[in-house]
């Protein structure tokens, strides 16, 4: 790092190449999904790069590096848990995107059928709101005008519907 801070780009590349396997092992202990783990490793490498000016060469490098790695990993885990807590890992934006962009017709049909099945568990009004906002692309304001409701009532109803759908999706998965 001392050489890198003096402008030696080869030493900088060597440093990254040397620490990447260490970081992979560190992240791999906490994350099972290899793709997620690689994403986090890349985030850590970017963070090390962007904080390279805060490293004091008189101090041990590994302690500095692992502090950043722990911070980024915690950030990732916090975001992951928040996502699971909020939507139990079901993102309806993604679902809608998958339906519209899927190249595989059978897969698209199965997705639509799956979504239709869990949607049927909702009250009729909530079904209508979710369909308008997430499939037909209306905004909350436009949906409110069409359904003769207030915008806040639409938002509350939509929020409850997403929560119910997420729970239903988890039940289905189990």
């Amino acid at each position: 790092m001392r050489l890198a801070q003096q402008g030696d780009s080869k030493a900088y590349a060597r440093l990254f190449q040397k620490i990447t396997p260490i970081l992979r092992a560190f992240v791999g202990k906490k994350l099972n999904n290899p793709q997620d783990a690689e994403d986090v490793v890349q985030e850590i490498l970017i963070s090390i790069h962007s904080a390279s000016h805060t490293y004091d060469t008189d101090r041990p490098f590994k302690a500095w590096m692992f502090t950043i790695a722990r911070y980024r990993l915690t950030d990732h885990l916090r975001a992951l848990y928040a996502k699971i807590e909020k939507g139990r890992d079901v993102n309806f934006e993604d679902e809608a995107y998958q339906l519209s962009s899927s190249e595989n017709v059978t897969e698209a049909y199965e997705n639509r059928e799956y979504l239709g099945k869990i949607m049927s568990s909702l009250p009729r009004k909530q079904q209508k709101i979710v369909t308008m906002m997430k499939i037909e692309g209306y905004s909350a304001k436009e949906t409110a005008q069409k359904l003769n409701m207030s915008e806040s009532a639409v938002k509350v109803s939509a929020h409850r519907a997403y929560k119910a759908l997420a729970l239903k999706a988890v039940e289905e998965d189990e």
């Binding site: 080869k10 900088y12 904080a51 000016h53 805060t54 500095w64």
Partner: protein, 214 residues
């Protein structure tokens, strides 16, 4: 993006030039702050009994401890601008360790008793000019220290914000003690020490938003 390509890209950008050592940052900031406080002190004029106070051991130790708190918390803030807090996890507690002797020297040597009635009476006096002045004295050095800390990559942003605020308010308090001729301990607690605690809490919240490394 592939990790190897990412490494090549970052290597071609190169590492950034290292920040000055926290001690050096503290010294530079301290020089600027002392010049600013010196100008303010000479503009406002020191308290009339300052020559007598300089021979008062409690008063002098109070001022020395305030300077100690100011310097140690500024150093802590600059160390906390590094993700690993410059590998000195104890640094943020030094200012707190100095707070107890400061309280002893500030309130033991002050004239008057510290009773609930006195504190309540002091509260009813509404001497808002004291915390207002401390805040005003602290704002320019405070902006400077926050900007310098922001140049780093702070992980403990609440700690960094509160340490930066404690530092500037300790110097603001010190200047008020040099200017204002009031040694009533109830007044010092209600209109000096408590507002500083509040300011530190505000600094902590500002730190959470302004200093967070994203």
């Amino acid at each position: 993006m592939d990790t190897d390509k990412l490494i090549q890209k970052m290597a071609s950008e190169g590492a950034q030039k290292p920040l000055p050592h926290p001690m050096r940052q503290t010294m530079l900031w301290l020089i600027g702050t002392l010049v600013y406080l010196g100008v303010l002190g000479s503009y406002n004029g020191l308290r009339a009994d300052i020559s007598d106070k300089f021979s008062d051991l409690f008063y002098m130790s109070e001022i020395a401890l305030l300077i100690g708190i100011g310097i140690s918390s500024a150093l802590a803030a600059f160390c906390l601008s590094r993700p690993d807090a410059h590998q000195k996890p104890w640094i943020k507690y030094v200012a707190f360790a100095l707070t107890l002797p400061w309280m002893i020297s500030a309130f033991a040597g002050a004239s008057g008793e510290i009773t609930l009635a006195n504190l309540f009476h002091s509260m009813t006096l509404g001497q808002f000019d004291c915390p207002w002045h401390i805040a005003l004295f602290s704002v320019p050095p405070g902006i400077a220290i926050f900007l310098i800390v922001r140049m780093g990559a702070t992980i403990q942003c609440c700690w960094a914000g509160s340490m930066a605020t404690l530092s500037v308010t300790a110097f603001g308090y010190m200047l008020m003690r040099l200017i204002e001729q009031n040694d009533n301990p109830a007044h010092l607690i209600v209109w000096h020490a408590l507002p500083i605690m509040l300011m530190c809490m505000v600094g902590m919240m500002i730190g959470k938003f302004a200093l967070k490394w994203r």
